[in-house]
């Protein structure tokens, strides 16, 4: 889920783009896969922010002053995370934008996906997908959009069967539950229309 605030989203994009740019430069200069590593680390930090109240407090509490916060972050992260990520957090801290961390993580993932021509695909199925199904689905999505899908799978028995696939805003619902639902709605509407028209007819003839 994205941040609630449009302004925050826009700001987070700026930071994410900057981090991505530095990561690509480092990768080009030193080799390795900095860009992917940064993604993993940022995602982890975003996760940490969401789960860990202590970390959240450290990052957002206005009572903690900025130098203190910088020192704690140094202690906690330097050496464990890549220097690039720790430095980025330092810059965000200096500008008082650390609260944007989850939004920045998300924006980075988005930008990274775009860079790698990958696309996040949310798949809901009634039973866990088999390896074969996964491959066929990936192939289908790739042939349709030309981008490599990264599947995020969810199992929901209440859809009874079939699949729900969502890419960005676009959602293709081929689940049995939805089909039954539309069918019943159509039948109800049809029947009520018929009853109504008969009533009008009998009303007119009477």
């Amino acid at each position: 889920m994205a941040s609630f605030d449009d302004k925050a989203t826009a700001l987070a994009r700026v930071y994410a783009e900057a981090i991505l740019q530095v990561a690509r430069e480092q990768e080009a200069a030193l080799g390795g896969d900095t860009v992917d590593e940064v993604r993993a680390e940022l995602e982890e930090l975003g996760e940490l922010y969401a789960r860990n109240a202590g970390f959240r407090k450290l990052v957002t509490d206005p009572v903690i002053d900025s130098e203190e916060r910088a020192a704690s972050l140094e202690r906690a992260l330097r050496g464990r995370a890549s220097d690039l990520v720790v430095d980025a957090l330092g810059v965000m801290n200096r500008k008082g934008r650390l609260g944007l961390l989850p939004a920045v993580a998300e924006a980075y993932v988005e930008a990274h996906d775009r860079l790698r021509r990958r696309v996040a695909v949310r798949v809901t199925s009634a039973a866990p997908l088999t390896e074969d199904q996964r491959a066929r689905l990936a192939a289908a999505v790739e042939s349709a959009g030309g981008r490599t899908p990264t599947l995020r799978e969810r199992v929901d028995p209440s859809i009874l069967g079939g699949l729900i696939v969502q890419i960005g805003d676009r959602k293709a619902d081929a689940s049995v539950a939805t089909k039954l639902h539309t069918l019943s709605a159509a039948l109800l509407a049809r029947a009520s229309r018929q009853i109504q028209s008969r009533q009008t007819q009998s009303g007119r003839s009477a």
Partner: protein
């Protein structure tokens, strides 16, 4: 009626066979927050402004704000059933309402759902809620009257079909009454009426619908109701929905329509609420910057559409609407000016076009084989009667000034007149109609021509005469005439006058026949005079109907009938008075006690008017 089971089963079978296993494709977003009828939705990246979206709980919404990663949606319907995280779907359509003949006689909400418990509305037609008003070429000037049946209005502030006439006044001055009377008077006139109630009490709407039913006016009326308890978004779209329903009859059927928006101040308030909740910047009186456009785009949709004519083969049916039936002028636009069509394909516009078509027809070799045809779906109109409620007569507030400047005139109602017993309480001095004069019947124009100015002069004189000054005979005469004309223009609610009756009674007034009658007898005289005309001289009424103008002979005849009748009337009154005087002496001691008289007076007062405080107090004292 028996339920035929097998039929239903076969329907199901058919339905299942046709049912394809296609995936249900949609663009979706997620509700971030919802409250006060507004939802913020994440996603829906491709949503258009004003697009219709649907929520998981079945409610629909309209996209109003487009932002970086979310959109602001107003919820039309039950927003309490929507929660954060719900899915929202694009529909790719703009909001639309069902239209058609099936709507007539129904009471619906602004999205077209029935509110009258008469079952679903069977119509496959719909029109968009927001529709661009027709441009210059598609219009023609207002040229047909829309009779309100109210003497004070039809004589001095005439309304034409396609006009926008504002009804403005404080609360409880009879604004709705004028609109309802106008709807009642459209009976048998082939005018489809739409009454849009915005932010009114449900009880008021119920009373209006009841009255319309009782008078048989629901046979040609649609009521759209967004009452005070409906969410603001519904109140905001209600007038557009009403206009869309009328537009069907105007554009597709060439009919005259009448839309009453009761009232637009409440709609502006609903829109203000939405705008503030959507965090749009507030302006004057906290209304958003586009509140003028809110009303101007609605009222611009009122129009008198042009008539369209063409020369067609003589065997063309009268109800043909196919423009390709028109016989093209061989020279097209190069034809001589007096035959030149307005469109390449041989269509002629407006009255002048008809003359050109006729002129060309006469010169044709095969004139008998052709005729000039008027397309029945052209020439429709939408007359708008917007209502604005002022506070303490403040017409220079934001919304009243806006709407006054948009409309083609206003009918101004005053509480002072209302409580002085002058009902309808129209202030003739500042009420105007900017275009209706062209549409007024010639006969009415002749008899009522000087009425406005006379009454205005009378008002001035009346104020002056209150000082107890001695008046010269001319002024005294004008004063007496004014008092009688004011009396003559009084009219009870729900009793619209046919235009001929109006002409006759105003004729009697402006030609001085009432000057020597006591003011209290004016309305009796009028009533009996009209009955006299209908019973004894129906040919006069017929001639008024037939002829547009009052000829000299007719003028002479009417004068004579009124003169004779007056002599008879005066004699009768005198006889009655003499009789009464005798009886009065006899029964003086048997006068009823005071309380009884008060009680009768109270019962007689119309139910919708506030009882006069003095009477109410007296009655209260009497009972306690």
């Amino acid at each position: 009626m028996k339920f035929q089971v097998d039929e239903i089963a076969s329907v199901i079978a058919e339905e299942i066979q046709q049912y394809r296993s296609e995936a249900d494709l949609a663009e979706v977003g997620t509700v971030l927050e919802v409250g006060d009828g507004i939802a913020r939705v994440y996603g829906l990246t491709n949503a258009m402004a004003s697009e219709k979206v649907t929520f998981e709980n079945g409610a629909s919404g309209q996209v109003l704000n487009l932002e970086e990663s979310s959109v602001g949606v107003v919820v039309l319907g039950d927003y309490l059933g929507i929660k954060a995280g719900d899915e929202v779907r694009r529909t790719g359509e703009l909001l639309s309402v069902p239209v058609g003949d099936a709507m007539i006689g129904r009471v619906v909400d602004p999205v077209g759902r029935p509110l009258d418990g008469l079952g679903t509305i069977e119509t496959s037609l719909s029109r968009p809620l927001e529709f661009k008003a027709p441009g210059i070429v598609e219009r023609q000037p207002v040229n047909e009257p829309l009779q309100t049946g109210i003497k004070a209005i039809d004589s001095m502030i005439p309304i034409g079909r396609g006009q926008r006439e504002l009804i403005i006044g404080d609360r409880k001055t009879g604004k709705t009454a004028i609109a309802i009377d106008t709807i009642l008077n459209q009976k048998g006139q082939d005018v489809v009426c739409v009454y849009v109630a915005i932010g009114l009490k449900e009880s008021t709407v119920a009373a209006v619908v009841d009255k319309l039913k009782e008078e048989g006016a629901m046979d040609y009326t649609i009521v759209v109701s967004a009452s005070a308890s409906d969410p603001a978004p519904l109140q905001y779209i209600a007038p557009y929905a009403g206009a869309a329903m009328a537009e069907y009859f105007m554009y597709e059927r060439g009919l005259a329509t009448l839309c009453v928006y009761d009232d637009l101040s409440k709609q502006a308030q609903a829109y203000r609420q939405l705008s503030l909740l959507l965090r749009r910047p507030p302006g004057r009186e906290a209304y958003p910057g586009d509140v003028f456009y809110l009303h101007s785009r609605l009222l611009e949709r009122s129009v008198k559409l042009r008539d369209e004519y063409a020369v067609v083969p003589a065997d063309t049916p009268e109800d043909a609407t196919d423009r390709s039936l028109a016989v093209r002028h061989p020279e097209g636009f190069g034809a001589p000016e007096e035959h030149r069509p307005d469109e390449e394909r041989g269509i002629y516009h407006r009255t002048t076009g008809r003359e050109r078509a006729e002129a060309w027809l006469e010169t044709m070799d095969d004139a008998e084989g052709h005729r000039v045809h008027q397309f029945p779906d052209s020439g429709g109109s939408m007359t708008a009667l917007p209502i604005i409620e002022t506070l303490e007569g403040e017409v220079s507030a934001y919304i009243p000034t806006n709407v006054i400047s948009i409309t083609d005139g206003q009918i101004y109602l005053e509480p002072d007149l209302f409580f002085a017993g002058i009902r309808p309480a129209v202030n003739v001095g500042i009420s105007v109609s900017r275009v209706g004069g062209n549409a007024q019947r010639k006969a009415m124009k002749t008899v009522a021509g000087s009425l406005r100015l006379d009454l205005a002069a009378f008002r001035d004189l009346e104020a002056f005469a209150q000082l107890g000054t001695e008046l010269d005979p001319a002024s005294a005469r004008q004063l007496e005439r004014g008092r009688r004309m004011t009396e003559l223009l009084k009219q009870p609610q729900y009793s619209p006058y046919p235009v001929n009756d109006q002409i006759l009674s105003i004729f009697a007034g402006t030609r001085g026949f009432l000057d020597d009658l006591p003011v209290a007898q004016v309305l009796d005289f009028e009533r009996e005079l009209l009955r006299h005309f209908h019973d004894e001289f129906p040919e006069v009424v017929e001639e008024l109907d037939r002829e547009k103008k009052i000829s000299d002979e007719l003028d002479e005849k009417i004068r004579k009938v009124i003169g004779d009748f007056k002599q008879h009337f005066v004699r009768e009154r005198e006889a009655a008075r003499a009789e009464e005087a005798e009886e009065g002496e006899a029964s003086e001691r048997k006068a009823p006690p005071r309380g009884a008289a008060v009680e009768t007076a109270e019962v007689e007062a119309p139910a919708d008017e506030p009882a006069e405080p003095a009477v109410a107090a007296a009655a209260g004292a009497e009972r306690s």
